[in-house]
């Protein structure tokens, strides 16, 4: 199968990787670049677990071809913050009990980050809309909304 060499900046690190035309960004992130913090919940664009930032914009990586990411910046959950140096949105998720099993969390945090970049003063309804493509089977959504809303409030004050 024909392969292409692409270049992406993954969490600020430049990476070169051989991909096929069929491969999705999700597949190469998890299988070739070790970004296992990106989750595969359905592989079909239905759940949002695989969300990443592509040049700052949130996309479902299972619906994005690897080739489409060529020359772009990809930010995953780990790129947003790490255990030693977590991002305030990650802290807010823990503080508000917005995590149960945590499988949806990767996508939720990524979406929340992209959303808060654009809207620093969101209403609850706006947050609902922002995360409506992200399914959570355990926690429900109310604590996740709390986490996003409080993060916005705190960063304002």
């Amino acid at each position: 199968m024909k392969t292409y060499l692409i270049e992406i900046k993954l969490n600020k690190e430049l990476k070169e990787v051989e991909v096929t035309a069929q491969e999705t960004l999700l597949e190469i992130l998890r299988n070739k670049l070790g970004a296992i913090d990106v989750k595969d919940g359905c592989g079909k664009g239905d759940c949002g677990a695989c969300a990443v930032l592509l040049d700052g914009k949130a996309v479902n990586s299972c619906l994005t071809l690897a080739l489409q990411a060529n020359g772009k910046e990809v930010t995953t959950l780990r790129g947003i913050g790490n255990e030693k140096n977590p991002h305030p949105i990650q802290n807010s998720f823990v503080k508000h009990g917005a995590v149960q099993c945590g499988f949806c969390t990767a996508g939720m945090v990524v979406i929340a980050k992209a959303f808060l970049n654009q809207n620093q003063n969101p209403s609850r309804q706006e947050i609902r809309e922002a995360i409506s493509g992200n399914l959570c089977r355990c926690t429900g959504y109310e604590k996740i909304i709390d986490a996003i809303q409080n993060m916005a409030l705190e960063s304002k004050s």
């Binding site: 913090d37 989750k39 780990r78 790490n82 255990e83 995590v99 099993c101 089977r137 604590k143």
Partner: protein, 717 residues
């Protein structure tokens, strides 16, 4: 009740940051050297004989390392396993599946429960009828009860088949080290998986270790040993390499369980003052090739009624088999029973909450059995009704005006959740002052790690983050499955027991050092001190140095005295808005009051309630497995067409935990909470809709078409 420092407070998840920064390894994130990818070939026929299987072509495909038949003569549903392959990568494994040649002889099949019950329907099992009785229970004399009643009412309720759909699909990795098998599994039951593997593979249980690290929940679908796990072990044995098999979302929909449907017909007699004189139920439940759920537990138990008769039947079909689904039977039974009670209340012009209070019991089996060890349902009624503003309800159902109508409804909840005696946990103290708590339980996503740490820290005068939690390994001390809301009331008391022993030991050591009696030593804030002279103290860390070696304290969750029934209780109060033009139901607010005894951690407990309510909203409004009756094909085997609640659908949810002391159930007085919040919510929504529009939707999911149809029928009447 014992006074606690950390137990019952708001503690953050000790693994929270690990999860939110993507450092928690889920099954599919585990990568082993030389690991192969396994896949399962599944039957495309709802019912067929397997005439022959030819694996040779698949075996000769380059990159394929092993192909095995899975010993079947018949397949009984679409998705039934037939063979398995292991290959170097996923694409090759998939190609190999296509090269396996299976000759099927299709047999007559039946996929709908209605048709399965008909005379002469194709049989799912040769030697069993399609319809089997699974419960026949009586007390008193129902016929007499009906005669004594002022009103006798009969109504039928229906619930749809639901799929668990945990966020992470099923998956296992198997690896052999000589004669020892190590399995990483996304499971709610490491010990069950271990014992099952040992039995099937014919090796000693001690040679199998099952490890579960982080998992994307299960809701009952991951409670037992799975075919893909056994297949991974067999393929790994054959190839001498680790094998991973993860299921797709479609496989998750087809063959790892579902919540059985129900068709419940209630009949009851009631006096004008609200006294129940007779209750009867006939239920037909469908769980595909497996048994359906008994739905009558709430009916048998929760309200006072001397005369009762329950008959339940399971109806087999050629569809994937059921598995316990978060509060099996209770969810369906509560939807029927609690909806029915509201209709009864309306018949006699009584407030539905009053009807429930009127028939309140403190003994189980409808007041004919033994006392409950504790029952805070009355408090749930009181606090829940106050919080929602129960007086605001329409005194007559459907009394409101306009095209959008609001209504209030409620429902009671009863469940098990008592915990399993014999659960073991160890506390290990090290001379450097560190502490392990070790238990062969599994954290399926609810926060068990944190609960264990909270209990140990509270008992040992430390903070939860000071404790290292070791769980999710079948080599650790035994703990039960994580199902039936058992985990906390099994594990927490065992940890408490071990921690108390450790604390006593430390107190004795400190007593010697400080030259006072052990009874006079307090252990808190990382310090052991003379209660009468707090200056005379030694730090936890300094004292543990004298241990010289690690020291283990064994804890056990003890038995419960006979003569009591051990249950959890709750009541949900709901406000809805119904658009009578579109049939849309909007849930506005839910007050969820629960008696789960002593809460270990309010942070995780609230999350549990909110998550359970959210799933219940989903049951009430959206969830249904849809099957094409003629072909048996699953129409919605994905997360697009199988609808679950999203952030756009969930209301404000207010959890309340009532203060209940239970000295009998275990040393912490704690009861389960995993399933209770899932149980009453759909019924409460149904009752709120009834209160809003004056017609009862007797079927889940309560989709707009059903609402509109019901409204139309009301007009006609």
């Amino acid at each position: 009740m014992a006074k606690f420092n950390i137990i019952g407070r708001d503690t953050l998840r000790i693994d929270g940051h690990k999860i939110v920064t993507g450092k928690a390894p889920f099954l599919n994130d585990i990568r082993l050297r030389g690991m192969l990818v396994g896949k399962i070939l599944r039957s495309p026929h709802p019912h067929a004989e397997i005439v022959s299987i030819d694996l040779s072509k698949a075996k000769s495909l380059p990159g394929v390392k092993a192909v095995i038949g899975l010993d079947r003569e018949k397949t009984r549903y679409i998705g039934n396993h037939v063979a398995a392959v292991a290959a170097g990568d996923e694409q090759t494994a998939e190609k190999a599946l296509k090269l396996i040649e299976v000759e099927y002889k299709p047999l007559p099949y039946v996929v709908s429960a209605e048709k399965s019950m008909e005379e002469g329907a194709p049989r799912v099992y040769d030697k069993r009828p399609n319809v089997e009785k699974i419960r026949d229970e009586k007390r008193g004399d129902v016929e007499l009860g009906f005669k004594e009643a002022d009103v006798v009412l009969e109504r039928t309720y229906k619930t749809a088949i639901e799929i668990h759909h945990p966020a992470e699909t099923h998956g296992s990795i198997a690896k052999w080290e000589g004669d020892r098998l190590i399995v990483w599994d996304s499971t709610q039951a490491i010990h069950t998986v271990r014992d099952g593997l040992a039995r099937i593979l014919g090796i000693p249980a001690g040679c199998v270790t099952v490890i579960k690290r982080y998992m994307g929940a299960g809701f009952g679908s991951k409670l037992g040993l799975n075919v893909h796990t056994v297949s991974a072990a067999m393929l790994a044995k054959q190839t001498g390499r680790p094998v991973k098999i993860t299921l797709t979302r479609k496989e998750n929909s087809l063959c790892v369980g579902n919540r059985p449907a129900s068709l419940q017909t209630y009949k009851s007699g009631v006096k004008k003052d609200g006294t129940l004189t007779a209750l009867s139920l006939i239920n037909y439940t469908t769980g595909g090739v497996k048994r359906g759920d008994r739905c009558s537990e709430p009916l048998l138990d929760v309200y006072r009624c001397p005369n009762l008769h329950v008959k339940e039947y399971t109806v087999f079909t050629n569809m994937g088999g059921s598995r316990p689904t978060r509060a099996p039977g209770h969810v369906q039974g509560t939807f029927g029973l609690e909806g029915f009670l509201d209709e009864l209340a309306n018949e006699i012009g009584m407030d539905p909450l009053e009807l429930r209070k009127m028939n309140y019991t403190t003994k189980n089996r409808g007041d004919t059995g033994v006392p409950y060890s504790s029952k805070g349902l009355d408090k749930c009624y009181e606090l829940g009704a106050e919080k929602i503003g129960w007086h605001r309800r329409n005194k007559t159902p459907g009394a409101g005006q306009g095209s959008t109508r609001r209504g209030l409804g409620m429902s009671s909840q009863i469940f098990w959740g008592d915990g399993v005696p014999g659960t073991l946990a160890d506390v290990k103290l090290y001379p450097d002052g560190s502490v392990d708590v070790i238990c062969g339980t599994q954290d399926i996503g609810c926060g068990t790690r944190t609960h264990m740490a909270v209990v140990a820290a509270d008992t040992l005068g430390l903070q939860p983050k000071d404790i290292t939690i070791k769980l999710g390994n079948s080599d650790y001390p035994w703990a039960p499955i994580s199902g039936g809301s058992l985990t906390t009331p099994s594990v927490a008391p065992a940890v408490r027991d071990a921690s108390l022993k450790a604390a006593d030991h430390l107190k004795e050591m400190a007593a010697k050092k400080l030259k006072v009696s052990g009874k006079d030593i307090s252990l808190q804030d990382k310090k052991l001190a003379d209660k009468n002279n707090p200056e005379n103290a030694i730090s936890f860390k300094e004292l543990t140095r004298d241990l010289r070696r690690e020291t283990v304290f064994h804890g056990e969750r003890k038995g419960m005295p006979d003569g009591f029934a051990y249950n959890t209780f709750g009541a949900h109060f709901v406000e809805v808005e119904v658009d009578t033009e579109t049939g849309q139901i909007k849930v506005l607010k839910v007050v969820a009051a629960h008696d789960s005894g002593q809460i270990i951690n309010t942070k995780t407990a609230e999350s549990q309630v909110i998550g359970g309510v959210t799933q219940g909203v989903s049951t009430a409004l959206f969830e249904q497995r849809i099957v094409d009756d003629t072909t048996g094909t699953l129409v919605n085997p994905n997360w697009r067409d199988y609808k679950i609640a999203t952030s756009m659908d969930t209301p404000e949810i207010i959890p309340i935990f009532v203060d209940v002391d239970d000295p009998h159930i275990n040393i912490l007085g704690t009861k389960g909470l995993g399933e209770p919040p899932r149980i009453p919510i759909a019924a409460a929504i149904g009752n709120a809709v009834y209160n809003a529009i004056g017609v009862h939707i007797r079927e889940t999911p309560m989709t707009p078409d059903k609402v509109l149809q019901a409204l139309k029928q009301k007009e006609v009447i």
